[in-house]
Assembly symmetry: C2
Homo-oligomer: 301 residues x 2
Amino acid sequence: MGRWSEFVQIKEVGPRDGLQNEKQWLSTSDKVHWINTLSESGLTEIEYSSFVHPKWVPALADAHEVGRRIKRYPNVRYSALIPNMKGLELALDAGIDGASVFMSSSETHNQKNINKSIDETYPVLEEVIHEAKEAGKHVTGYVSTVFDCPYEGKVNPEQVLRVCDRLLDAGVDDLSLGDTIGTAVPAQVDQLLGKMLKNFPGEKLIMHFHDTRGMAIANIMRSMEHGIARFDSSIGGLGGCPFAPGAAGNVATNDVLYLLNGLGIKTGIDENKLQEAALYIQSKLGKSLPSKSLAYVASQS
Amino acid sequence: MGRWSEFVQIKEVGPRDGLQNEKQWLSTSDKVHWINTLSESGLTEIEYSSFVHPKWVPALADAHEVGRRIKRYPNVRYSALIPNMKGLELALDAGIDGASVFMSSSETHNQKNINKSIDETYPVLEEVIHEAKEAGKHVTGYVSTVFDCPYEGKVNPEQVLRVCDRLLDAGVDDLSLGDTIGTAVPAQVDQLLGKMLKNFPGEKLIMHFHDTRGMAIANIMRSMEHGIARFDSSIGGLGGCPFAPGAAGNVATNDVLYLLNGLGIKTGIDENKLQEAALYIQSKLGKSLPSKSLAYVASQS
């Protein structure tokens, strides 16, 4: 373990992972305005929506229209969550630079989340990955519950490795490893990354922490000590997981940026613009988001 | 930097540092019940109140009565915040095992907080330390703003070292180093502890983090990697600092315990009893406390 990278890339997942759990409807125009503001902040990747069937994620039922209407900034990769070929077709029509496929490393969570066994899931994703690569898109494989499963408890890193291997073989460009229920502590990061980094280069790995127990920033710090330089986060800490009982949202982009700025790590992100996007979504949803840095800044203005 | 200690000691400061910033009055009976519950959790030190003049900290105006009425558990050190000889007299009469004296490492914060320059503060504390030691009490020296000052910005570790040296010379048993405004990131922990540990043994040092920006757990993790094994925290994350604009409360004892349990570090603390004490004070104050672990557990019950 050593010194962290000089540059860290943050992928903003608020418009997808953050919003998907919201009960209230945010209008398409508001989403578009919000995503455009995020684009102006210097973020280099934004997951703008999900092409999962609206029956499952009603808050993002306008994914296609959002994709059509957002401004495309040349330095931003616009990606979306893609469950299957139907979703990919729609996403390609709406416009994506990146396709995110997803599955769990625990059997029960995979079954509850996508209604298939792990073995039944591979062929579905493999077809999507193949077609997305054919279309020249970047493909990220989300692997959920890499530390703990809400149904099965501790997940064996061997099982995570198996899923990751299979997705890389299928052609994903990188892997996002999710602490879906936000239970991990830094020793678990050591255990998992110790194993993963023996098998894959660190550049392939993105860490995706939820902050249910307030451990996410410590886990990011720990991941950076292992050389990881890519993280998913959600503006303001917006979010949760509908299929993981009690899980809180992703770690807040604002708090991650506070950490990285404090460490002198470059991100290319303008803190003020990010605050603007956070305050916008907070006011539209009419509730305080969990980010401590955001709450602090809001209390000062 | 290396492997952390097998045992970590948490000092519960909620009844003092947590409560001192509360606008609403918590009855003496409620305080006594709450502190007794904390005592039953296995905590080995509780700062039960402050003998600063009630004009400055009205929420703790009943310090003497609280001290008289709480049950004294044999394995708990009961300490209190002591500003001067008058406060020490009252505290000794109410009953204390430990006296906590305090000052800042930044001139302006010291002036605003205790209305004296740093040089004017030493003789006041030296007399208290001397008398408390004569009375056979444990004495801890709180040093505030060891990373950043709300008025002066970055604080030079040399200045922290000077204050710590002087307090140790005066006879304090240990030092609690405070990130009073909760702005530090782990690189600042490295910088300060790198310097401190060249001068003092780690056993003398307690770290005291506020969680204004959500960095406290990462900073505790980092401190443990430097061998620090003693931390101050406040149940539920209750608190703030009246003389440090915008500062949030101490890191939540619940979140610290979640981290330590996850790492397999012993604390002797019963999580359920701690939750009971947290839910009690939350219900008495009629508001949600910031601890994420507490919020999670409360959402599940």
